[in-house]
Amino acid sequence: MSTIDISLIVNGENVQQTVEARKTLVDFLREDLGLTGSHVGCEHGVCGACTVRVDGEIVRGCLVLAVQCEDTIVETIEGVSDTGEIAALQDAFQRRNALQCGYCTPGILLTAQELLKSGSAKNRETIRQYMSGNYCRCTGYQAIIDAVEAVAQMHGSKP
């Protein structure tokens, strides 16, 4: 078993750990750090449930190895919830019933937030295309698009 020492920042805290080389980022976050808000779905990059941020950009947590995150800044749904960054989005999701079981929601919120931050959530079609990499098996997507669109309009497309 090959292990490697890594150090990185997770949700603002310095983390130093020894990890197996083959451990994915999402498994590291969930199993080693107890951050279970990032979910594990397909484990090959299709469903988007494991979406987290590395150095400010969303990535698939199942397609990045923890060892590749040496010296990076990782943010999870726990971190961005605590800072209040996505409060408007969370509120819109609640009001519009844009979630049922909630399994996909952390990944959906982080993806939607990146779109809103980029200022390019121009219309439903753009939102749909940006969100196309995140599966939801409950809502039928309409309510999710409604919620993201509502926040985009509220802030003139800026969060």
Binding site: M1, S2, I4, E20, A21, R22, K23, T24, D27, E43, H44, G45, G48, T51, E57, I58, V59, R60, C62, L63, V64, L65, V67, Q68, E70, T111, E114, L115, Q129, Y130, S132, G133, N134
Partner: protein
């Protein structure tokens, strides 16, 4: 945790990476963005004994124009390329194709070099490289050499890269007067194409590179020759150029039908 056990190294320089790769030969796999390799590892379709992470090799970054060629460093991420003014200006075909590659979270990580080196037959960029008659820069312990796109893609996931080689950049000829077209059909936006077409016309010479319809990206040379006569003659000529195999999502006959539809859709963009 799904992959088999492996060792991991992250060399700091290209010579160091080449030495490690030389030492481990075919047991080593190169990882860059990992967006195709990690699923392959997770599904245990590959079980290398060591991963060589080339992510820290600054020599492999950067986009520049040199000697009439646009040079794109292998570690350029899809998202960087998508927003690069140089690529929009000098390689508009790439700019058109990149938004079709997977999803934003994957484009944030996946690299241009990785996509070309893997040579997935249904991927966008290998076909674009072929349509633009680009070339690939390869380094190994002996030095660097260049391979034309037409000689690079050999067979299913098989390229001119050998164990010990690192793809360091791609080069695309500058063609300010070229007209380009791109289209693909997939079940869901961002999924691998059931069929796709990257095309370029320059001084009346047309290159049509189809993807998702053969074991490699493939030039449709009969259709290229016929397109100056009429679009429908070019469409018919595809019967001689393409013989797509069935796959999980569609039969070969459907793929050929889709290829013809794509050619009709973009033929106008090439004039």
């Amino acid at each position: 945790m799904k992959p088999r056990n492996f060792d991991y190294v992250r060399p700091k320089s290209l010579p160091e990476a080449l030495a490690v790769l030389q030492r481990h030969g075919p047991d080593a796999k190169i990882i860059a963005g990992g967006q195709s390799l990690v699923p392959i590892l997770n599904m245990r379709l590959a079980s290398p004994s060591i991963l060589v992470d080339i992510g820290a090799l600054h020599e492999l970054r950067g986009i520049s124009v040199e000697n009439g060629m646009l040079r794109i460093g292998a570690l350029t991420r899809h998202a960087q390329a998508e927003h690069s003014p140089e690529i929009r200006r000098h390689a508009p075909l790439f700019a058109k194709a990149i938004p079709y590659i997977a999803h934003p979270a994957i484009r944030n990580r996946g690299t241009i070099g990785g996509s070309i080196a893997l040579a997935d037959p249904a991927a966008e960029l290998p076909a674009c490289l072929l349509a633009l008659d680009g070339e690939v820069e390869i380094a190994n312990i002996k030095g660097t050499h260049t391979v034309k796109a037409g000689d690079f893609f050999k067979d299913l996931y098989e390229t001119a890269l050998n164990p010990g080689d690192v793809l360091i950049a791609i080069r695309l000829p500058q063609a300010p007067k070229a007209r380009v077209g791109f289209a693909e059909l997939a079940r869901r936006h961002g999924d691998y194409a059931m069929a796709g077409l990257a095309a370029c016309q320059e001084d009346g010479k047309v290159r049509l590179a189809f993807f998702g319809v053969a074991s490699t990206p493939i030039r449709a040379k009969h259709a290229e020759a016929a397109i100056s006569k009429s679009i429908e003659q070019a469409v018919s000529a595809l019967d001689r150029d393409l013989d797509p195999p069935d796959d999980l999502h569609s039969s070969g006959a459907v793929k050929k039908h889709l290829a013809k539809t794509l050619l009709r859709r973009i033929a106008g963009d090439l004039q």
